[in-house]
Structure formats: C-alpha cells, structure tokens
Subunit: 371 residues, 2 copies
C-alpha cells in the first residue's frame, strides 16, 4: 500500500504511528545524557521490536542493542545489528543451540547467566562448536525475577571464570521494581539502594579479572539517576524512544508530577465506529490493539476532556463529560498508549510521521519474538 | 523447522499448542447441539484467528464464519472460506472500499450496519461498483458497544430496505455482557431477557421482507441457552473451539461450578528459566505471550498446587506452597490460558498435538488483523 504522502488521519485504523521529530529528539536526549556522563548506551529492543529503530539508535551512538529473548537476538543479527546483549538467562539446550548459532554469525553477542546449570550447558555447547562467548553475571537487585542473589554472586562468578569457553565481562543489575515509582526522590533513593547491592561485587570482579569492565543497568525511569552511579558503565533503557502513558505519569527531575524528559513519539490512531449511545461513543481499538496494562491511554488534544476505557477485544469506549463534545462517526482519535512494549507487540508496522504527513513505514520485525 | 514427530515438551517455549482430540470433540459437540436444535452455526474466527481451523469448522457443518474486522474477512476469503459475516459496523470510506473489494471476490460476504451514515456510505460504494450486498441490522441488546437500540431499529430497518444496493437479511443481537455470568441460571435469565428485546423486531421484519430470515446471536457461555430461543436462527460462538480459564470457571447446565461443555484444547507451554528464589520460580511466558485479561491461567496437572502469576512483559512467576514441589530449571509447564482470544493474537502459529506428539502446525494467519 502506498502510504507516503498520505495524511496520518487517512490511515486505516487501528494503527501505530511514530512521530519522527519526537523520536529523534528522544534518541538524541538520551545519547547526550549518556555521553555527558562518560558512559555507554545499549538500548533495549524489547520495547520497540523494530530493527530499523535499533539501527537509528546505533547511528545516534549506541554501542549495541539489548534483546530480551533469543528470537529477538536472531532477528537483530539477521538485520545486521551488532553488540547484542541477551538480558535474560537461557538455561535450556534448545535455546542455547540457537544462541550459539547466532554467535557463530556475530561474535559480539553476549548473554547473561544466573545459575550453574545454564553456565554448564552453555560451556558445553560452545565447546562442541569450538567457540567462546562473552557473558554477564545477572545479579538480582530486588526485582527477584532473574539473577543470582548478591550474597551468592561471587561464588557463581568464580565458577564462570573457571569455565574455558566463557569470558566474564561484568554484571547486569536491573532494578525493574523501581522504574515506575511516582516520586522522583523516592525513585532515586530506591534505585541507589538497589544498585548499591551490586557495587561491592562489581568492584571485586574488576580486581579478579581484567575482562570484567561492564556494569549494565537502568531503565527509562531511572536513566539520569543511574548515570550518577560511578560504577555503572552502560544503560539498557528501552521505553524512552517511544514513551507511554505509564511513564509520562511519573515525576522527573524537573517536574515532580510529570515525566518531561522524553516525549510521546508513539501514538495509536483509532476511529469512532458507533455512536448510538448517550455519553460515549465506540472506537475500533480494544484489547487486541492496545494492551490493557500500565495505566489508561490518553487522548491527545482532547479539549472536551474525552477519556478512553476498554470495551472488549476489538473496541474501546470514549467517554465525554459534555455530550455535545462527542465526536461523530468516522472521527480519528490519537492516543498515547498505556504500556508501550506489549502494545507494540500487537502490530506489524509503525507508520512514520512528520507533523501530519506519513513519510514511511518501519516493520515491527521482532513482533512475536517471545522465544 | 521440522516439528512433526517431536514430543510437545521438546518445543521451544513459550508456544501455543492445540490438542486435536479435544478440539475435534469441541467442534463436534457444538455442531451436534446446533443440528439437534435445527439451527445454523457460523462460528467466530476472532477467537482462533486461524483459517485452517475455520476450514475444520466448515467441514464439521458450519454454514460460514464470522469475522470481527474487515482485515479478518480479507484473510478468510483469501484462504478460500465463504459465508463470511463481518460482525462489527464498518462506517468509514476506506474500510468500506476494502469490504466491497472482498465482496467482488465472494458475493456471500455479509456485514452488519447500525447507523444511517454507514448505510449511506456502503450503498454509495456498492452503487459505484455495480454490486449489491447482504446486510444484518446490528441490534443493541444490552452490551451498548455497537448496534442500534431496539426502539430505533425499525426505522433504520425501513431505511435499509429503501436502499437499492442493500439486501436486509435479518438481525444480529449479541448479548456479550451475559456470557461470563457465573451462575448458569442467572446467565439463562439474563440472556433470555436480552434476546427478547430483539424478538418483536425480528418478527416484524420477517413480515416486512421475505429476505429477513437470519437472527444471528449467542456466545460460548449461552450457546445451549440461546438454542432454546425459537427466533434465533444461527449461533456466532467463538471460544468453544479453544477454551480458556475464564470460560472454564463459569457454571454450566450440568455443573454449576464448572463449564463442562467443552474442553481446554488450547494450551500454552512455558519453561522454568530461573530458580534462585524461595517459594517461586520464574518462567519464560509473560504479558507478551499470555494476555493479562479474564482470570488467572491454570497450570495443568499440578499436583503440588502450583499457580501462575504475571511477572512482567517476558516472565511469569510460578508459586508453589510446598517449596519441595518447585520445578527445576528447564521444566516445561502446560497452562490453560487466561482469555484465549487476545492470547492467540500474540502468536504466529499453533502446534498441533495428539497426546504428547506434535503432528503439525497451523498458521495463525489472521493474527494482528485488527483493522
């Protein structure tokens, strides 16, 4: 379908659009902040699931790209991207085989480990293939989802160092549990406390092995907070590129009621399809195009105070306190999505816009890469 | 990837499997019930998003297939399926153009209408193309999402009948709001009350126009209840084929604590990937592979009382009251999904199983068809 030259409001809906001006500003602001702190940026592709966007992040200065899953790493390497870090442990033979196949194509691939069993399987698979691999020790700093506890981390680090095929490059310490704390000051305190749990370990590893130079950490909610931690060497932030209602609702350094560091580059377009009720209309975006997680989607430019609420798999309800302000059939509304990551994962493409003009399309080529 | 001959527990996870024995039983039970009542079945593809599964439903006796969106209808017709009913109103020029293009390929296509504006646009587009089309009047029987109110329905019906290019074939009355009422008796009462709102209208339309022969209605939760309504001519049930935890939790005619009419043919496989905590382990299925909606996923065959809970975009937490019962790294667990429709929409394929053997793959070719 020819889309370039179209007005965004003429696109069939529901669809996702990316405002390139806002996106480029977001990428630049993050890269500048990281550069100023003398650190590195390895942004997370789990958010945008889009290798052309990852390529933009690389061009802006990122040293690599993070992937949550092996299948995401496969797609990124296939698209020619390097410096991939798989941020979840991969402790099963089938997946490790896939991982080692990617490594054979791109030796810069890294993965985290958090258990002896995963270490043994990986070491054996690498040995069989005659390869060696960079790994980070995943340290649990309070999220409790993956990672070894700090008290047990040194023992596992020693074990990794004893394996022939693994090069321990440092640690990953992701404090996911603090990213959406509303108050900036509380978030700052919580993030510092979390990361401090990993600092003595990292200092110890630096002494133990000269290969240990990476402390990968952070998320969009704490990017500036974590840049102030001397030991942190790189950020693995994701949402800052696209942004969502969930992140825009937390406080930031400049404004304790709003997260003003990055702008809402990602929007969902939805059309009014039924208007037979009083007080609300029905739009064509529901659970299957707007993931119900992490706060309420916000309608952009609604002067009459319209709000979106879920109304089943295929539909949404748009409520207006003033019935006169209800939009007629066919009206296209523009929303900031609830939680951007799982919403993007519902679509095959982003329409790229400058102002109201559609200027291109990017495939969401990592969509569905959940393995 | 060669999958046939594999054991399901050797599949990379997270992935969706369809138990063919249960699926075939579900399809046969529904078709038999509909046949016994002397009615028709036009099952909804919005649930399974899979044209090979729709083909199975046709082979079992269905007279056609329902689609929620124009893009779903496009994919179904492309796959060679006929008798497609689009169950949501399509009131915008771009989508109507797409609809008319499908009609040009398959004249059996039908769509619902609920507003004069949609009627006018459709009539004009058909006129331009020299085509005519079957439509159903979408009547709101309490869900308030789409559909004309019963009191205003006759006026809109007369208007449709006055249009040259539209053939009014009857009504759609979908009581989505009653489908998950837990008590079977309460659900029965509520469904009858809802459908009765449309019965006088349908009787009137039957008198007005001999083309008005269709009363399309129902969902999985009320299939047997609505088959007892004399005016209903066809069911547009969806979830019965795959089933989910949300439906299995409601009462049925035979058992007021469980929905025993259909079995859980759909399952999600997920693997334990991190085991460094007390009381729980982390598995590799989160929001992006298990939609957080409609109840808690259930772990099949868990004798030690394991329960799943969400743990972020990529992960789940499996809690076990007895820590000795916690599964080790690499264990594959089998879950009944929360709400099947939006979960299926996250994946590209179903692995087909008989017992534990993988016997094939079906593409989820309507996935992402939200337009």
């Amino acid at each position: 379908m020819k889309t370039s030259g179209k007005n965004k409001f003429d696109l069939d809906t529901p669809c996702l659009v990316l405002d390139l001006d806002l996106l480029e500003t977001n990428l630049r602001k993050m890269q500048d902040a990281v550069n100023r702190a003398g650190k590195n940026l390895r942004p997370h592709a789990k958010t945008h699931k889009c290798s052309p966007l990852a390529q933009k992040q690389r061009e802006a200065g990122a040293i690599g790209i993070c992937a949550a899953k092996v299948s995401e790493a496969e797609a990124l390497v296939k698209a020619g991207l390097g410096g991939i870090l798989v941020t979840g442990p991969v402790p099963t033979p089938g997946k490790i085989k896939r991982l080692v196949e990617i490594l054979a194509v791109d030796p810069s691939l890294m993965v985290v480990v958090d258990h002896r069993e995963g270490v043994n399987l990986l070491d054996a698979a690498l040995s069989e293939r005659g390869l060696s691999m960079d790994v980070l020790l995943d340290v649990d700093v309070g999220l409790h989802r993956t990672g070894v506890k700090p008290a047990e981390a040194l023992e596992l680090a020693d074990y990794i160092l004893s394996r022939e095929r693994l090069r321990l490059r440092g640690i990953q310490a992701y404090a996911g549990q603090v990213q959406h704390i509303r108050s900036y000051d509380d978030r700052k305190t919580a993030s510092h406390q979390s990361l401090q749990e990993a600092v003595p370990l990292f200092r110890e590893l630096e002494k133990k092995a000269e290969t240990c130079t990476i402390f990968s950490s952070s998320g969009t909610g704490t990017f500036d907070i974590d840049l102030a931690v001397p030991e942190v060497t790189e950020l693995q932030v994701g949402s800052y590129a696209c942004m969502d209602a969930e992140y825009l609702d937390i406080g930031s350094a400049e404004n304790d009621r709003q997260f003003t560091s990055f702008g809402p580059a990602l929007r969902l377009l939805t059309t009014v399809v039924s208007t037979n009720q009083k007080g609300f209309v029905t739009v064509d975006a529901g659970l299957k195009s707007l993931y119900r997680d992490g706060g309420t989607p916000k309608i952009i430019g609604s002067e009459s105070g319209m709000t979106y609420t879920w109304f089943g798999d295929e539909y949404g309800m748009v409520i207006c306190p003033d019935p006169v302000g209800l939009p007629p059939i066919g009206t296209v509304l523009e929303l900031v999505t609830s939680h951007c990551d799982p919403t993007i994962n519902l679509f095959n493409q982003f329409y790229l816009i400058r102002g109201n003009d559609v200027v291109g399309v990017w495939p969401i080529d990592l969509r569905g890469c959940s393995q």
